[in-house]
């Protein structure tokens, strides 16, 4: 069990650094404010329909072992 914990702790920062470098190096040309009308559409945001997300994430976290990833502060319930 202890070894697994260490692996968990070790894996996360490595993954973060890798991703950060990918994000940092993606030499995307700067998108100007007047070019953001498509990005402003609700379906282009990551919190599109939060009530749908809360039902869906909860169903999955109560029927599968994995949970979380998108946010913090999800309260507990007796379902898992």
């Amino acid at each position: 069990m202890k070894r697994t914990t260490i692996r968990l702790l070790f894996g996360a920062p490595v993954f973060l650094l890798t991703a950060a470098s990918i994000f940092g190096c993606s030499a995307a040309t700067t998108v100007q404010p007047w070019e953001k009308q498509n990005l402003a559409r609700p379906e282009m945001t990551f919190d599109y329909d939060p009530l749908d997300t809360r039902y869906t994430e909860h169903i999955y976290s109560s029927k599968e072992a994995a949970s979380g990833g998108a946010g913090v502060g999800g309260g507990g319930c007796g379902c898992n």
């Binding site: 697994t4 998108v31 994995a66 913090v72 309260g75």
Partner: protein, 409 residues
Amino acid sequence: MMGTALLTAAMALPAVDFALAESAPEKTKVSFKYLNYSESQYTPGIHSSTSGGSDDNETHHHAVIVDLVSGASTTTTSGSGTGAVSSDRIKVNAYTVSALVPIEGKWSVGLNYTYDSVSGASPQYHTSALTTMRDQRNAGDISVTRYFSRSSLTFGGSYSTESDYLSRGASLMGSFSSEDRNTTWSFGASLSDDSITPQLAGIGNKSKSIVAGLVGVTKVLTKNDIAQFNIGYSHGTGYYSDPYKANDNRPDRRNSATALARWNHHFEDSDGTARLGYRFYSDTFGIKAHTLDAEYIQPVGSGFDLAPLLRLYTQNEAEFYIATNSPAETSPTPVPAGQAYSSEDQRLSAFGALTVGLKITKKVSEDLLFDVKYESYHQRSDWALSGKKDTGLAQFNVQSIQVGMTCLF
């Protein structure tokens, strides 16, 4: 009637989701959503073949689900003389009301209330010995956000009660954007404290505490692409066992790590939007899981949007998971001598899962929106991409429908 809330599919309190939110909303938003959820399990009977399995523990199972308790409706079909068995499990009806109120352009307050009723049958071990249960849940949460020119700070609190479970939580989240607002860094931290009072003699009161943290970056890549990457870590201690299941004795500590990548792309030609996500999950129970999400939202005129969705999931089993011992088991598998921890919970077995769904949204006006969503979920041990498949488990299925409305004032 046992109040086996620990087995239920009651609605959890929401997580404060990472999003770009450096400006207060302009209007008050009020939403309502109803969920109808129903589970079933299915054993196809004698397999004609179990080809493809490379593991030698694959067994041909003669399907009989032992339904010890009345109340779980079970139907036996005799298609091809195989004796397939299908049983209903849990049903949930949930109602959520939500409001987001802007205050003086610099603050917003979010309020949510959820009521749900849960009833049906849940297995005492594996997919056997279905036992009826019924429970209700009331949950509320509040969040307060302060907006600054290029950043925001959110504090949240949550509370939830069931007949045998009480949860309290607090969270803090912040976000900071670059000057061009094309990059946003986010962080979040949360605490939860749960009290568990199993309605069984001799167990006593239990508790569980979880501390979690998350960091993420959201980046505008082009005028039609936005991507997000989050890393999360959670440390939990306390009572993780399920007192209503046989031979369930889990470690009193569970740490988990997640990595989530999301990418939304808008197609100018079709005016449609693709939403893609991948999550990696790993925990100290020894479970690793991969989740792929895809959704495509297509406007079709008259204010209607059609959105088909697909989700793929796989996990391996927990280190202490104990598999079924016979094709048609009538008792739990004995715990091997000397094994400290054990569980015969299907949710800790190795499996793969598939969800297909369709959502229809109708925008009546700029301030009024209706939506309906149907999803069909299928979970099978045969579909696990890693781990040791427990082929004695029944297939698990869920059908769900959501109906929602959003108004802006």
